[in-house]
């Protein structure tokens, strides 16, 4: 009956209650959608980086990351490649020969990382081949084909089929100059990546280096993200002398950014709930002051102050939960829709590409958020109820009954 009284009391002033419920619903909906977009953005950055070049795991010679000289290739790299391919839960493996060099055109030069690949292998690990804006992915018959990023092409003033000269240091320290023909131009979500990475066939690179096949980096895609830890442990145990790293160790800034998005979401929610706290407190204070006489009568006829306190707390909680439930419901529906349809942020394309994020974001929220949110709403409601309930239990019935 106390529940029934509390619920009916909320609807005494329909307009006021609806305003606060709408405010709560809109505030929560906004923060949920914003949070989901941030987290979708974080997830997009991670997935994009993994698909673009990081893969799930990479193997290097120890300390290669600190000293990326051409001589620091993986000892017996081909054997390692072959072995890793046979491991359980490994989806695909690609060996890369990496050389730091310069790319030159008639008008400009730019520092690049030359990535020597076997295209058929690389296609299974990265998605560069799906990101061509012109040309093809090493299907041309031209000598020394190269695939470069759109950003680099623009910087060097080059287009498809143009000649580009790469210069780099050989294994013996000598400088090597070689002309390549642009067979394809790709564009990823990272403009920084596009201007820094060029792809050539390993056979061409080894011929220019006058070297047997050497592998500086082995990139591995696991079957799923869930099996990543066990594949990581397996490879580490097989090759304790090599550097085995997961994507978040290779690109901690991406991992941190992605994790930060979840923190931002909680922070934003707390800000919204904090603002709502004042709105709800104000509303309930008005509701209590309007009912001074009635509350005085209730205390007079025998309602203990604890029950009065509980009634105000219940009213506040019901008001908050109603708004909260509406906000969560609309939020869930919005997020469910956009998680399939995607949200187009192409108007922010240049900014998002510098972060390596896609322009179509698929919002996502972890399940624990939907569990945490009702708890946060109830805590907010309880805090909101404190002052109005305190006022209510300190009513003097003899004077309250005379209030008009």
């Amino acid at each position: 009956m106390l529940f029934s009284l509390a619920w009916k009391n909320i609807w005494r002033n329909k307009k006021r209650s609806l305003i606060i419920i709408l405010a709560a619903a809109l505030g929560l909906w906004g923060s949920l959608v914003a949070g989901a977009v941030w987290m979708g953005w974080g997830e997009s950055m991670v997935n994009t980086a993994i698909s673009r070049n990081l893969a799930h795991l990479q193997i290097h010679k120890k300390k290669y990351i600190q000293n990326k000289e051409i001589i620091n290739f993986i000892p017996d790299g081909s054997q390692v490649l072959k072995k890793v391919r046979t491991l359980e839960n490994v989806h695909a493996v690609s060996g890369r020969a990496l050389v730091e060099g310069m790319a030159a055109s008639p008008t400009s030069t730019f520092g690049v990382k030359i990535v020597g690949i076997i295209p058929a292998e690389a296609e299974k690990v990265t998605d560069i081949h799906n990101r061509l804006v012109s040309g093809n992915y090493f299907q041309s018959s031209s000598r020394n084909p190269i695939v470069i990023g759109k950003k680099l092409a623009e910087r060097l003033g080059l287009k498809l089929h143009s000649k580009i000269v790469l210069s780099f240091q050989g294994l013996d320290g000598s400088l090597i100059y070689a002309a390549f023909r642009i067979a394809g131009i790709y564009k990823t979500d990272s403009s920084i990546f596009d201007q820094s990475n060029v792809f050539v066939q390993q056979t061409d690179l080894f011929r220019l280096l006058n070297s047997k096949p050497i592998i500086h980096e082995i990139a591995i895609r696991t079957e799923t993200s869930a099996v990543l830890p066990q594949v990581y442990e397996k490879i580490k145990s097989l090759y304790p002398d090599l550097d085995v790293q997961t994507w978040n160790e290779l690109a901690p800034e991406i991992a941190i950014t992605s994790a930060a998005m979840e923190s931002f979401t909680y922070m934003f929610l707390m800000i919204i709930l904090f603002a709502l706290l004042f709105g709800i407190t104000n509303t309930m204070l008005m509701a209590v002051m309007e009912r001074i006489r009635e509350l005085g009568v209730l205390i007079a006829v025998g309602m203990k102050k604890g029950k009065v306190f509980a009634m105000i707390l219940l009213e506040t909680t019901l008001l908050s939960i109603t708004g909260g439930a509406a906000g969560i419901a609309i939020g869930v529906l919005s997020i469910a829709y956009f998680s399939h349809a995607g949200m187009d942020f192409s108007f922010l394309a240049s900014g998002m590409e510098s972060f390596g994020a896609a322009t179509i974001i698929y919002p996502t929220l972890p399940l624990e958020m939907y569990v945490a949110l009702p708890i946060m709403i109830i805590v907010t409601a309880s805090l909101s109820a404190a002052l109005p309930a305190w006022k209510a239990i300190h009513i003097q019935p003899s004077s309250a009954i005379r209030t008009y």
Partner: protein, 229 residues
């Protein structure tokens, strides 16, 4: 043994500035089954006296005994509990809970007492029938006339099975016919349920019906007609 005994009862406001002696050294005894009116002009202390008897206010001097128990010594929650189980209230402005029906208003007191739903339902209907509102149990106060609301208030006052009912100006907001009808009801309840009624009033219709009239002037008893004190 008197039901209510007031011994040297006083209530003074503004003790540090200009003191106002709202109730001034009152000695009074009210027995069971009495139908007593406390009368006097505005400012004579009738309402204050009723508040003191009902435990809604604490005296600044003296004692209030209800069935030999000094209620002025009770702690806040004990006093609320005491009112719930021993005292029924009828107010001038009815003071029903507007979101509840007539039946729910009567039931609420029994809910506070911890009575079961089945018994509450039965008792509430019985009381509303006794006050002549058996057909309006599901009506809200806004759907009832002033007289009907006051009848619901009487039923609510009786719901807790109190020792006595305190009625503060119960007919003040009612027209003559409705007031007479309400007084008929209260007299009937006094007879049938042996319920003690103590009124604070300056309504001559109530004074005419009262079996005992205690007149207050400036917080003190001026006269006491018709009862044994």
């Amino acid at each position: 043994m008197p039901l209510i005994k007031l011994k040297n009862l006083s209530k003074t406001y503004n003790t540090t500035a200009i003191p106002v002696h709202a109730v001034n050294n009152v000695n009074l005894q009210i027995a069971k089954k009495e139908f007593t009116a406390i009368v006097g002009p505005s400012g004579s202390g009738k309402t204050t006296l009723l508040n003191l008897i009902g435990g809604l206010d604490k005296p600044t001097g003296g004692s209030v005994f209800v069935e030999e128990r000094d209620i002025a010594t009770l702690k806040a929650n004990e006093l609320i509990d005491f009112r719930l189980h021993h005292i029924g209230f009828v107010f001038q402005a009815y003071n029903l809970i507007p979101v509840f029906t007539a039946k729910e208003n009567v039931e609420f007191i029994m809910l506070l007492q911890g009575i079961s739903k089945t018994e509450r339902d039965k008792k509430a209907i019985e009381l509303l029938n006794a006050v002549g509102l058996g057909e309006r149990i599901d009506s809200r106060p806004s759907q009832l006339s002033g007289g009907q609301q006051q009848r619901v208030a009487v039923a609510r006052a009786l719901a807790s099975r109190p020792n006595f009912v305190l009625a503060d100006e119960p007919t003040a907001n009612l027209d003559s016919h409705t007031a007479e009808s309400l007084l008929d009801l209260m007299e009937q309840l006094n007879k049938d349920y042996e319920m003690t009624f103590v009124f604070s009033t300056h309504d001559p219709r109530v004074i005419k019906r009262a079996h005992r009239v205690v007149t207050l002037m400036d917080g003190a008893i001026k006269s006491d007609v018709g009862g044994k004190n």
